[in-house]
Symmetry: C2
Subunit: 485 residues, 2 copies
């Protein structure tokens, strides 16, 4: 049957694995030298790309206005994003009804990483990018982060470098191309198109860009606030499950590492067949009754509008505030915008254990009011613990104490990472992978044990795996390479 193709290119997982282990690169102290070099490069990029970020009142933003009828916050161009109110009803939920502000950004942007082989090894073109919400300035980001407003140049800035490779993919290899959701507690039905596109022709790394192997990038995931959310979500969509990966990923002799390798293998079974997982998701989505209604921002109960911004009367959850940004190295040199500033650092964690020798993650079917389709699969725990102080005890997330009380021996990964710095101001989560010996036969109705391979399979499609779980998938992928000693 000439000319017909299999459904996936089996070389891609092998090529991804090869890029995790550039031969002879990570021995004896080489990583700390490499890390120091990357930090110097980032610092060097920071000079032209410096940013000054000042807080300003929500009602004093250039180009933004408060809709006189609703109080909603909008840009005069009608583009970018707006902020409205959302009324949420979840009959039978721990909190059955609430109001909140929500960011509306219906346009689908592109988050794209350009990849290219150098000496037979895949390299990713990464950008040192400053975002106003970053606490620490520059972070490692995808080649391209472009909203539709960006690339149709609503703000009249400079063109987005390398964008053409993602808009016209003729002649390129597409490794990832899938729309994925973002924070469903803060965004109303936001999706971005996550892309990884391979080019074969010459592509120069411009100032502020750098070709890096997957091994380099993934090791940087263990460094606080260094790899940005957009990079993490794109990396999580890489189809890294495959066959024979244990020939490439040297086993560390550690049981967790061995179980993780098996969890990424196409040959390993799982506690639940994928068909049963899909049926469980269907059941959760059908059974959960959630009604969300956009309402005027001025009408939401429990929130106060002051000169600085909008806050919840408890002082918890998040504020809406404004920033005034002056920067050197971005598309525009000066702008103002509203941002969402969460209170407290969140905790995002997967409880993991081996079942039959294969690492399984305890996944939650989580309802977030901004999701397109009722629930998505989320980490075991995803919350800001302080927020539960004013809520009924039944609202306290299951397994939170299991995560918070785990000692360093069972906490196998813990890194504080920033959320999207273009919309969120100083939003950080402590991402953790925690070993547990919970009985796998005892799953609450909205939890299931899944393998990494099953999540990778679901990541080929939209609306299955939420953005926090995607960060964790990228971190687990990084653990395959072994963390630097």
């Amino acid at each position: 049957m000439t000319g017909l193709l299999p459904d996936r290119d089996p070389r891609i997982p092998t090529r991804i694995a090869d890029s995790m282990h550039l031969p002879g690169r990570w021995d004896a102290g080489q990583w700390s030298a490499e890390l120091a070099e990357i930090r110097r490069w980032l610092a060097g990029c920071g000079r032209p790309a410096h940013a000054e970020v000042r807080r300003v009142g929500l009602d004093h933003l250039d180009g933004w206005y408060r809709d006189p009828g609703t109080g909603d916050i909008r840009h005069r161009s009608g583009k970018f994003f707006s902020i409205s109110g959302l009324a949420v009803d979840i009959p039978g939920g721990p909190v059955e009804h609430w109001h909140q502000p929500i960011i509306i950004q219906p346009e689908i942007g592109i988050l794209g990483i350009l990849v290219k082989e150098f000496d037979g090894v895949l390299h990713c073109l990464m950008q040192a990018k400053i975002e106003p919400g970053n606490e620490n300035g520059l972070q490692l980001s995808p080649t391209v982060q472009a909203t539709r407003s960006n690339y149709t140049r609503v703000h009249g800035g400079k063109p987005v470098p390398y964008l053409e490779h993602f808009v016209d993919t003729t002649g390129s290899g597409i490794i990832v191309d899938v729309r994925q959701s973002e924070q469903g507690s803060w965004f109303h039905r936001k999706r971005n198109r996550n892309m990884v596109v391979e080019v074969t022709g010459d592509v120069e790394a411009e100032d502020g860009f750098r070709w890096m192997t997957l091994g380099e990038i993934h090791r940087l995931l263990a460094v606080d606030d260094l790899v940005n959310m957009d990079a993490r979500t794109v990396l999580s969509c890489l189809p890294f499950a495959g066959l024979d990966l244990d020939r490439i990923h040297r086993r560390s002799g550690d049981d967790l590492h061995t179980a993780l390798l098996r969890s990424c293998s196409e040959e390993s079974g799982s506690l639940h067949p994928l068909s049963a997982v899909l049926s469980w998701i269907t059941e959760r989505r059908t059974r959960t009754e959630i009604t969300t209604t956009l309402v005027p921002l001025d009408s939401i109960r429990g929130w106060r509008r002051g000169p600085a911004g909008i806050t919840h009367e408890s002082g918890l959850f998040f504020d809406l505030m404004g920033v005034d940004v002056t920067t050197g190295g971005r598309e525009v040199g000066h702008w103002t915008q509203p941002m969402l500033e969460p209170h407290g650092t969140g905790v995002v964690a997967f409880l993991v254990r081996e079942i039959g020798g294969v690492l399984h993650l305890l996944v939650r079917a989580r309802v977030e009011p901004g999701f397109v389709d009722v629930v998505e699969l989320a980490p075991t725990v995803q919350c800001t613990p302080e927020n539960y102080d004013c809520l009924p005890p039944a609202a306290r997330p299951p397994f939170l104490d299991e995560v918070l009380l785990a000692g360093p021996r069972r906490t196998r990964f813990a890194t504080a990472l920033s959320e999207e710095g273009g919309r969120f101001y100083h939003a950080r989560n402590s991402y953790r992978i925690v070993e547990t010996d919970l009985d796998p036969g005892d799953e609450p109705a909205d939890f299931r044990w899944l393998t990494v391979r099953q999540l990778i399979e679901l990541l080929r499609h939209s609306h299955y795996v939420n953005v926090q779980a995607r960060t964790m998938i990228a971190c687990l992928h990084g653990m395959l390479a072994g963390l630097p000693s």
Copy 2:
């Protein structure tokens, strides 16, 4: 790795194939005897289940009212469904802007077929069901068709038989469980949960129900107006692609049959890898700008409200009208309801051809305003030809003439089938499979050649394959068994 399971049960496709060919059953004249017997059974069921359906004015329906503010049509219980207006904008489309009435039914119902082995062969419990919109009375329907209103008994009728098997699946085998969309031109974001559940205990076929093999049901798909839409959509979700199916399905010696068998085989390749198909869907969904806004039914332009119902000023498309129904064998004996009555018989067709020995279908990424996610995969042609008389020539569907002008030699399947008789009055489409020799290298941007196996793979997930394409998948599955001579 004890106790772990593969992602799919490989015996299911084999068991499905076995149920298509009850050994020694379909030889020499047995089919016509069998068909006559099924018709007698249906006619027998028809006596207690007779229905009298009378047209009544939209404003004279018991239990339904016209919302004084908007003109929307609603049920007094707030349940069942309502009819509102929809404003549609598709910049760059052949028709860029229109208004239309639309049926809103946000609750997700269950369409379920109960299956059970008798003498080692899977049988489906089918129901002879009357629906007010059926032109010919009884049709073969799934074991259960239940809206949430049905099974919470809003209308105070009798309980739905066998529903308990789909609400609590503990101890049963789940073969299909996926939400799928319905007509996106007539419904606003309607989904039903399609289920096939296998039981092992004793289950009696009550009056009006009958255990049938898949071979029997699929052969009935070639009979006009006999297998209803709900049965077809559930059947289409059966995971019938597998390995070694050609050992079970006897080859008829016909090239199309051989290519179709290969198209259902897990071992065959395809013109495009599934990853490329998914990327194409992502691209179509990202690129298409469609805005749909619910508006008051009284405000829609181009439609007229008369005493009988609501019609388009051109006399085309569809009417909204009311019916008064009296029946013997259904949950309630008498009711009235609004219905949508389309004008003309639609044409729904897949152009098919072998590529590299494997049958491929020319699939369209089709925009329908009621879809949850912009586009779904549809047959090559899906339209009511008369509706294009008043539209610009650019709006005429591609490949329509190729389908209409194909002679009987190239038209390999043609059956008129009814759409959902609970909402649509006398809605029929001529479903056709037409062989073509179009150049597979020449695909318009919204068309791609896919194999049957690829569509079956996508049918594990929601929102990929529209309801008309699903009917065609069920018909293609039936062709595997060979049509009765």
